[in-house]
Symmetry: C2
Subunit: 155 residues, 2 copies
DNA sequence: CATTCTATGGATAATTTTTTTCCTTTAGAT
DNA sequence: ATCTAAAGGAAAAAAATTATCCATAGAATG
């Protein structure tokens, strides 16, 4: 398993710093590289995190006949293949993103935007695991606060 | 704002170690203490975390005529009053719990159960905040792993 | 305790979100 | 170029959530 960085995002896949080759990325995950799937990944990459509605209206520009069912079906297939990750945040609509290296999120209290936060949760997991009667393997972290944009703008 | 411990759960409200007085808890949060609301809180407390379906079938035993709309309306009112918290975990149905002192969750990979994990995220937030261009105020943490029950049982 | 007023509950319908079915089309292998 | 399993699209169904309307019941007032 390799890690490569493209446009501030860290995707799992072939080592590569070129513009993302969605076709190869799909095939690597045993999924047929259809134009619709490439469009879905492209929209996800452009937005970073995307709701089903935004994805739908976005992708309709290129595939006017595409169906919501196609989006849901593909998102689930890609999630099964760990190519796409579901991001659920309280009080927010479900978001989807291309699977990246482990990272946390910041959900802005003011504008609702969600940002990636680079963080290594390994120490947290390692520290917590022995304290618990469960086996802890990984952590999903969502920070709440005020994003940079709202900080500079607002009062 | 006080903290008190009842039956392994840490609720915000009046200082008290007695069985939870839901009536008082509701009034403290400026909500009328109706039997239905008391039933909702009781079911939440019994289950720790509860889905809307479980809540519905549970509470119907006492209020056979209760409507799902009543549940949703009340849950949202209680969330607005910070008396109830929504817990969203990837691949899982939305859960609700009575608001407790800050804590993390463990979602078991095997059985899907969700457990409370005592943890103080203050250091994590304090450490992360200066590293980011955003203002980070709090953290929601969900651990993934295998729960104690599945550990003792399974292979 | 009786009166009053407003918030609440329940019935119902409407929306929104997600999944399923069925048939046609297409990606990728041969 | 041909073949076939997988994928797309239309449509309907199912699941989840929210809104509307009115009778009723908390709880404040006196
Ligand atoms: Mn992300
Ligand atoms: Mn909890
Ligand atoms: Zn913001
Ligand atoms: Zn388990």
């Amino acid at each position: 398993m390799f890690i490569f960085v493209v446009a501030k995002n860290i995707y799992n896949g072939a080592m590569n710093y070129e513009p993302i080759n969605y076709e190869a990325l799909l095939r690597t995950h045993q999924l047929k590289a259809t134009p619709q799937r490439i469009g879905i990944l492209n929209a996800m990459h452009t937005h970073g995190h995307i709701t089903i509605d935004t994805l739908y209206s976005d992708i309709k520009k290129e595939f006017s006949a595409i169906s919501l069912a196609t989006l849901y079906k593909n998102i689930h297939q890609m999630m099964d293949a760990t190519l796409v990750t579901e991001v659920k945040i309280a009080q927010q609509k479900t978001l989807y993103e291309i699977t990246k290296a482990a990272h946390a999120h910041l959900a802005c209290d003011r504008c609702g935007s969600v940002y990636d936060i680079a963080i290594d949760a390994t120490p947290l997991v390692a520290q917590q695991s022995p304290l618990s009667q469960h086996r802890i393997e990984s952590a999903q972290i969502t920070f709440t606060g005020v994003c940079q944009g709202c900080l500079t703008k607002g009062a």
